[in-house]
Amino acid sequence: MNTDVQIAIVGSAGDGTIAAGDILRRAMAEIGYRVISFDLYPAEIRGFGKCIARLRVSDEQAYSLKQKSDILVSLDDSHAIPHVGEAREWGAVIYETNSVNPLPEGAHLSAHIDPGQVPYNVPIRELAEKSTGAARSRNIVVVGYIIGLMRLPLEPALRALTGKFKGKGEIAQKNEAALRAGYEEGLRWFRLDDIEFGPPPAQERGAHLEMINGNAAIVRGALDAGIDTFFGYPITPATSIMERLASEMPKRGARLVQTEDEIAAISATLGAGFAGARAATATSGPGLSLMAEMLGFGVIAEVPSVVFVSQRGGPSTGMPTKHEQSDLNMAVFGGHGDAPRIVIAPTNVEGCYRCAGRAFEMAEAYQTPVIVLLDLYLSNRYETVPFPDRPPFEADTNRYADTRGGAAGFQRYVLTADGVSPRSTPGQPGGMHVATGLEHNELGRPNDQPDMHLAQSRKRHEKLKAALRHPGFEPAKRFGDTGAVDVGLVAWGSSFGECLEAMYLAQEEGIRCAALKVLMISPFPVEMATSFLADCKEVLVPEVNYQGQFAGILQMQVPRAVTRMTRIPCAPMRVEEILDEIRRLAGRVVEPQAA
């Protein structure tokens, strides 16, 4: 029996919608299922905006949410009515039986349920009031109800509840009563046959499963790689990286300083990198723009450093709480001069962990700034991640110079076969040198002769190619059908999840289809992309920006015609839309979609 159930809870700000989703996904993860979850909430902290918590529970880690939910819960009918269609045929729609006030005709959800959907009208408010004396715990009642309805164990949800309301004695007690009341009610109702929760999958050996979002995974990766210093400035949606590090780093003797701006953050990060620390900062698009000049310094002075960037809608202040993938050009090309750097973009939460750790290894090994490019969707989305019991990262990937007895000046930028010069750090006798933003000779002294500029420029570019073969890191990976295909998708970042989902659906329809996940965008895995594109009759490049920035980079590296699919819905791309494009490119008839 396979488990693949998606639950959506729709409510209004203040209903506890997101909290309910959080308890539910934590409970599911503790039972041992794999979870992916992304919440939608209004930009404003207060008010009556729409909130939706969505979670998909399955045996194998899913890469994206499904188009249709198996269970839809309404905590506020006015917001839920437009979403009723999200519940699939024979899916459950759970809603309040008794509204507080008499509602005008059509304002109650019961009037909007489609034929085929299964209505569950539950006295949610009454259960909350009876068990806790107030209606506030409606959200918790619903969590208990779903668990009871699905005949799942209650204990994991109880523990998730305890964790969430730790140290809030009376509230915790009331919530527990509400959870139990909902659970008992759920047990009394008939269970739907085609919403199935099978036994949870076996746990991987040498790893433990945790529910975590992208930003938290970045933090975990940074800590497991032994981060020494962090300098940052708050900015949505990257802030929680700094907040989490602020509480975790001191526990490990590491240091974090909130700087006066992003320019100071990157300057200090490079200062610490120069001093030999594993140093990082985190920001979003506007901060990355401010950091551009200093990143160029990191490139020419060859200073190891890591910049985590979580993209949001741009340009300028843009849309701070909306998803977009429009800072790719800035990350890869931002700043003046020929300034090559490493840019990697994880595609899921587990990838955030791995990319964060590997970024520190790469920064040291190739002596360069490394940008890890996330986006709002990935930063905030929760997934179950099997964390290895022993961190898979190397603690030190520096190539140190032996400077003992060096009477002549130390050649910090000596020209080597692979372009990486052995380095020294302050405190090391005989290794004194100046790291400068001026073009320089092997000694690091200012030098603007054409031969030297060419030699040093070549060194800075060529040394990065080794990153494409970095141990434990795949710069690109192919999924789907092997050999020649009708449609090949090339995708990066969080969009890859939706592409993969669309690809599987297209395969089910008999379309020969494959997808290339590109993790390293600079330097670009040209060979892998070339051989993949050679297999594809049509190439589709979906991404969430207006210009098709990734498609542009792809075509610059591997010249050939591709279909750019650019959408800016201020949210993740829809699987259905990608599927339609695949159908079109494969020559299938596509029904026009209702707006």
């Binding site: 300098f231 509480s247 003797g253 120069f274 310094f297 006798p429 100046v434 933003g437």
Partner: protein, 299 residues
């Protein structure tokens, strides 16, 4: 002025060689114009490092961009010659990563108070344990003589051909109010005084700010010349108490007429390192000892 004695070149050379301070001079020759005041600052820093017995490899000179910011190339220690205005935040990174290092940030008036002005208050208020040497010549030398934030009203330059209308900043007063824990002023034309002040600044535990007045002999023939400065510069009153911040501010205000050199203000208070260590203790973490670029792994 005391008794005047002849100085013989051989004696002077021998004295310099014996002192060991040449070890702190790099083999690169300064790129400054003959007569520039900055030469005496190189000499003062080399002497201070030597006298304090700081090993070459344990000191880092951090600078931004400008004539003065070429400084790290002329001292035989580690150095970073960063971007215009970014010496202080870069120094923050170096010192935070490895508190055992002696970190000296250097830069000019444009670097520190125009483009980099936003960083100065924060380095000062955090009491970052570094020394900041500000070479003030009241002009942009490297771009050939434009006005700077400390240029006098009425100064004619290529970017202010009808005379500069802007008031100059009062850096000493600013640093005092920012919370710098050591504030002093010296003059490049008085090497003895400069050496002593640089040494005191390096010895101070906390953020020490030394403002060094220096003429630009190439682009300023009218205002901040050796002749003018020589007439204006005078010592702080012997009665000045460096523990008295209000008095220090009063003296700093008088700078707008004629600059007084000496130690304006000094206090002892916890540094940023202390604060970060306290944080580690509070969180129940273990101090890493010499974090020094993961210093434990260095040979």
């Amino acid at each position: 002025m005391g008794e005047i004695r002849p100085v013989y070149l051989e004696d002077k050379l021998k004295e310099v060689e014996d002192s060991g301070r040449l070890d702190y001079r790099s083999k690169a020759l300064p790129t400054w114009c003959p007569g520039c005041g900055y030469f005496s600052i190189v000499e003062a820093v080399a002497t201070a490092l030597c006298e304090l017995g700081i090993p070459n490899e344990n000191a880092v000179m951090v600078s931004g961009i400008g004539c003065s910011s070429r400084f790290p190339f002329f001292i035989n220690t580690y150095g970073i010659h960063t971007l215009h205005g970014r010496a202080l935040p870069s120094a923050l990174g170096v010192k935070t990563a490895n508190p055992a290092l002696t970190v000296v940030a250097v830069g000019g008036d444009g670097d520190g108070f125009a483009i980099g002005g936003g960083h100065v208050p924060h380095a000062a208020r955090r009491n970052l344990d570094i020394t900041y040497l500000l070479f003030d010549n009241g002009i942009y030398g490297l771009t050939k003589g434009q006005t700077s934030p400390t240029s006098a009203i009425g100064f004619k330059t290529p970017t202010s051909p009808y005379a500069n209308p802007d008031r100059p900043l009062n850096p000493l007063l600013m640093l005092l109010s920012y919370g710098a824990s050591w504030v002093g002023q010296s003059y490049a034309g008085d090497p003895e005084h400069l050496r002593s002040m640089v040494r005191q600044a390096l010895e101070h535990r906390g953020f020490s700010y030394l403002h060094i007045l220096s003429p630009c002999v190439t682009f300023d023939k009218t205002h901040r010349t050796y002749v003018n400065l020589g007439m204006q510069v005078h010592p702080l009153p012997a009665t000045h108490d460096p523990a008295d911040k209000l008095a220090a501010m009063g003296e700093a205000m008088k700078n707008e007429q004629a600059p007084a050199v000496g130690l304006y203000y000094r206090e002892q208070r916890p540094t940023l390192d202390d604060a970060l260590d306290a944080l580690v203790e509070k969180a129940g973490g273990e101090k890493r000892g010499l974090r020094g670029g993961r210093g434990r792994k260095l040979r």
